[in-house]
Symmetry: C2
Subunit: 454 residues, 2 copies
Amino acid sequence: MDTIKAYIEENKQRFLDELFGLLRIPSISSISEHKPDMVRAAEYWRETLLKAGADRAEVMPTPGNPVVYGEKIIDPKLPTVLVYAHYDVMPVDPIELWKSQPFEPEIRDGKIFARGADDDKGQGFMHAKAFELMVKTNTLPCNVKFMIEGEEEIGSPNLGKWCQDNKEMLKADVILVSDTSMIGKDVPSITTGLRGLAYVEVEVTGPNRDLHSGLFGGAVANPANILAKMIASLHDENNRVTIPGFYDDVLEVSPEERADMARAPFNLDDYKKALDIDDIHGEAGYTTMERTGIRPTLDVNGIWGGYIGEGAKTVLPSKAYAKISMRLVPNQNHEKIAQLFKKHFESIAPKSVKVKVTPHHGGQGYVAPTNTPAYRAASRAIEDVYGIKPVPFRSGGSIPIISTFEQVLGIKSILLGFGLESDAIHSPNENYPLEQFFKGIEVIPRFYKYFSEK
Amino acid sequence: MDTIKAYIEENKQRFLDELFGLLRIPSISSISEHKPDMVRAAEYWRETLLKAGADRAEVMPTPGNPVVYGEKIIDPKLPTVLVYAHYDVMPVDPIELWKSQPFEPEIRDGKIFARGADDDKGQGFMHAKAFELMVKTNTLPCNVKFMIEGEEEIGSPNLGKWCQDNKEMLKADVILVSDTSMIGKDVPSITTGLRGLAYVEVEVTGPNRDLHSGLFGGAVANPANILAKMIASLHDENNRVTIPGFYDDVLEVSPEERADMARAPFNLDDYKKALDIDDIHGEAGYTTMERTGIRPTLDVNGIWGGYIGEGAKTVLPSKAYAKISMRLVPNQNHEKIAQLFKKHFESIAPKSVKVKVTPHHGGQGYVAPTNTPAYRAASRAIEDVYGIKPVPFRSGGSIPIISTFEQVLGIKSILLGFGLESDAIHSPNENYPLEQFFKGIEVIPRFYKYFSEK
């Protein structure tokens, strides 16, 4: 397989230059003013696929941001790999914590720093370059299709319908996705489970205007105090979620599976040290890996209300808000959970305030089997490059569209992620190690080869 | 007393023009970039006093914003009234709720709309114009001194020391202050009590950086959830503050006094309707007027953390913050309460987070006696103009400096406020009715007359 290494070595700088071009486009899907950037990022992907050797590549409209579709069909009788990635990224707040500009990529300490460096421009681009490599070195062993969307970070609201509408065009044997992480660069792993997601925004209204906290404080419900009380009540003393019915559909994992999970390497001291925390915090009766892997959770992602500027203002705010998300495990239905949340949250509001609950996006959890040709091909490909057999593990993250693919297209996905925990995705100073980027480009052609040999 | 009415009638438009000049200066004391505006507002007051007829007026430095001092001594043997007001104002957030620009005053529906229209530029300016009136019509019956500060809204951190340093210069028989409200324009009242204030800012830190809520949610303490839980625990099921020792120094008000207070007009339905709330909310066992008048309270004035922009972001924030103030009743020491809060808040933090409590400003409560010549003079003056004898009442608000005046200068204050509850002080669309502004200018010379006749 020296062809692969040689091609990468020869084209390293160009690969990075081309990725940087994509990283410079601020394609933040949750902020409407970035609409034109979404189209620019989609066009950039289309050109990348064409230059890499696609027979066809186009930017296809949806009611939201467009989807880039590309393909190279070398022989209809051969297997087909469908690559999924997304060109949209998360917002950059808090901007003041970035050490370099989020949309001006910079290499420091062997890592690419930029919003999207890992999630999912860096990881997605590995597939474009691996595809180019196989085409240019005449080693492409099967057909390839690309589906690159621009709404993953807002819950892929239009991709399910788009897949339905283009079911025939998307026919494939496996969906290949690099949008997850490994346990560590010395502990390669393949993600075999994802959590589902229900995301809501709540608004608590007290008086019809901000009031002077001296003249009214103590006599009128303060929505910030009430919101705090309501949020606090969502967990009990064992850190279990108190919403009635929340755990009803959770499948308990067998003691055997839990014992299996416990074999994955995990060092609590290192974990605490890396996050600079004195103690961990979670549901009683479960380990850290179990808390993120097999248990549903509820987190405040944002909270705000009243005066948050410099200094002191004695105001009794009219409104307080929170963004709250629940990570779900397979078998929990995200729409049902969002409804349970809404009903419960409204029911615990005192009469002195008004409460509005607005669901944002959501998605189902996913479990991938390990006894498939695709899993075995991925495992061999990683072992070739890393020298270690990867371990299967369940991630706490969510990629809601993966379960939609299964439902709509009837195709299982293989989650071949090269991210690392230290990549700070969704955070300031997101980064992606050059080593992982280039190793990923090495692994992918090997996956195609082993998968085609099945 | 037709001289008074005649002079006001003749100069109405000029009075407003001059007040508008002061209102146009954005003298927000809590935001450091407004430093130059503080000096401009002080200079404006100095010129106003000189033009009105002061023998002397100067802008005197302090380690913070300057104090304007002015005086007219007509006869050292006559009594002296010391007027106190402040030229600084509150911030204007949320700016989007203002119907006109906060620093471009506008008259609508017989009211002046601007930040500071009431608190305390509008109310303070009445004293400048009443003083001018007495000088120009040769009716000034006593000596007058003015002390106009620029840090009231941030707790007057430098005025106590300044008073101490200028004790001799400030000698007077009474301090006259218009920085409070009446129960209603048909229910004139004189404030005889003010609450004290302890104001703190809290910071709760979980992990050392924002984390992906999927990968870490449920396993690492979320500071926004923890802060909510900590804030929620500060009140018990009877809405009593749970900080140990919080109520230790609270003087219980006698049943007779409570019966007296209950005679002040209060309509619960009107109150709820004005605020658009379905229910009131406060400490069990006390009426609304008691909750703000004689009981200490704790309110969140601001809370923030995590992602608060448009759309959804699945972040587990590194930090969450709150601004929390406690209104205190006479005999509670604000420094002691701030310390009790700090100790308690730190003690309830779980080991999985770090907590920092920073005290902002604070101040003591105040009770004014009603059996003094100054109170009687104020009562007669108001009755002359409003046709109704004013009722004494205890306000829930705080003017921490009033108790400092008593301690440092040994002078009691008379709280001759003309604000109304609907003036929206500290809120968007702060306003001050023209009727109250001009009636105030009518009342003040009468107070001087009756007080000098004592």
